[in-house]
Symmetry: C2
């Protein structure tokens, strides 16, 4: 017989009508769209049977330790390892699920928009009066089709983006820990990360966040980049080491950076914003926030929760049996 | 023997090193990047042998009337009819040239960037703190690939843009005064302008400005559009009747509008900006301002000037013999 009870749902942007199947199965939904503190999360989990993780909070071993009825943490996204204490979940016998089948379109198109805006410097031209001002300090941009774009992480989003950039006419290369089949189907050049950094005019970071990818863009990578490069990070802020990013913006290695998400330490965000505001296209992890993309993600997570409460097998299980 | 003398160059964004062939032929360059008044233009033209028109000024019959040495007006762009008094030029025996072979990439990619920004509402999400706020007033956007895009004007830029949008996955239809071959090669649906307005989620205006296209997007077109539509005008402001645009923004027919260029009456721009600022992506006619696009355009105009001063034939001649 299926377990039922309270289901905690975190994160903004979730259409609660999509959670109806959970309610129809006899559960009650508690939605907490604002970022939960460690104490708030622990308190909310204490009487929950399932936890749809769609926020930025970290589900620590401590938070999970007193959640005695909890059966499943359904993470909405790919990089669950940075948001859930996987060892603690294993030890507790919890199931952790993820949503690997996310449609790549939303993030790929959002990223393309940020690439176009950053490359042409459009943000700082909005509301300008005629005639547009060009100078040695604000030179006319190069066309995107003449730029070399390096993609770090060639999953479904990176492959989709690469296809769009090739249609525009860019040269595209990529780095990934393992070589990808899309390299052949799209005719991309593989480069090591240092070589990709040196080769690219625009470097795009699209890796999931996990212990091996945090700070992957660090001082050594910035040191290889050309002066005036563009950095696009539409994955997670933590992939780019923030002190190195500040230095690269300060010394002109990076002309413009787009970041979709924040560093966990709010003072880091504030300092970067204060010093480099007009050269940043900074958004609050909204790239996947389209109706279609969120619906597909929530749908997978809801099915995973129902399977966990039924003790049924689930192909989207990252931890558990 | 070639005529030589003063060559007036207007408009910002012109790399003066590209004008060296004119100087090497014995001419002197007078560059006036700021918008010229009618009186200033008339004064500058009085002793000029050639006029590279890259600005927003109107070369009236009056301005041309006292330019006794003038041989050619080399217009940089397509829509010369709105910027040069063609009848006066004919009467004076002046040559008017244009740059029809402009590369479409710059404007097509700029337009795509504005479409992505407008569709996702990215401008108003910049610098937002976590968590991103969604509400009935700010609903989550639909993916671009799920949107219908209507293109008004299927020249080289419109065709290039249509190709990019089809790659993204949009449905694309178009209107043009005459049916275009690209309709077949790209598999686009032709619609009359009223039908296209009613069908589209995003309407993109890409016609050259001339007497038959000024105010082509008027009250009757807005009346057909769905509530919350997006209007992208990366051609010239004058294609959209400004009072009708204000009404459509006010009553919610248009959610967001991108405009690349200004109305000649500065008070019209100021009033729209004051009332609808955050819902406008307004730029000062910069879409073609990439190094590659400007170089190609200036190169054509320079060759046309040299041919005119040599009385040599020119395939880019719009008026003259």
């Amino acid at each position: 017989m299926a377990h039922t009870g309270k289901i905690l749902v975190t994160g903004s942007g979730i259409d609660l009508t999509l959670l109806r199947p959970l309610e129809e199965a006899g559960n009650s939904i508690v939605a907490r769209p604002k970022l939960l503190s460690a104490a708030e999360l622990k308190a909310e989990l204490r009487d929950a049977v399932a936890y749809l993780h769609g926020g930025e909070e970290y589900a620590s071993g401590d938070a999970l330790s007193t959640a005695e009825s909890l059966k499943v943490v359904a993470f909405m996204g790919i990089g669950y390892e940075s948001f859930v204490d996987v060892d603690a979940a294993k030890e507790r016998g919890l199931r952790v699920t993820w949503t690997p089948a996310r449609r790549p379109d939303a993030v790929a198109v959002f990223t393309l928009g940020q690439i176009i805006y950053a490359n042409l410097g459009i943000r700082n031209r909005l509301d300008e009066r005629y005639p547009p001002q060009w100078s040695a300090a604000v030179p006319m941009p190069s066309e995107l089709s003449a730029q070399r774009v390096g993609i770090v992480g060639l999953g479904s989003i990176g492959s989709r983006l690469a296809g769009l950039l090739l249609t525009i006419g860019c040269e595209v290369s990529y780095y990934s820990r393992t070589r990808k089949l899309a390299e052949t189907t799209l005719d991309l050049t593989y480069r090591t990360l240092p070589d990709l950094a040196a080769w690219s005019d625009i470097l795009v970071v699209l890796l999931p966040e996990n212990p091996s990818t945090v700070n992957i863009i660090d001082t050594s990578v910035f040191a290889r980049m050309k002066e005036g490069s563009i950095l696009i990070n539409t994955a997670r802020a933590a992939l780019v080491e923030p002190v190195a990013l500040g230095n690269a913006l300060r010394d002109g290695t990076i002309a413009v950076a787009a970041i979709d998400g924040h560093y966990r330490d709010e003072s880091v965000n504030a300092a970067l914003m204060r010093e480099f505001g007009p050269r940043l296209l900074w958004t609050a992890h909204v790239a996947a926030h389209t109706r279609q993309s969120m619906a597909a993600m929530v749908d997978q997570a809801v099915r995973s929760v129902l399977r966990a409460l039924d003790n049924a097998p689930d192909e989207n299980m990252a931890v558990g049996q």
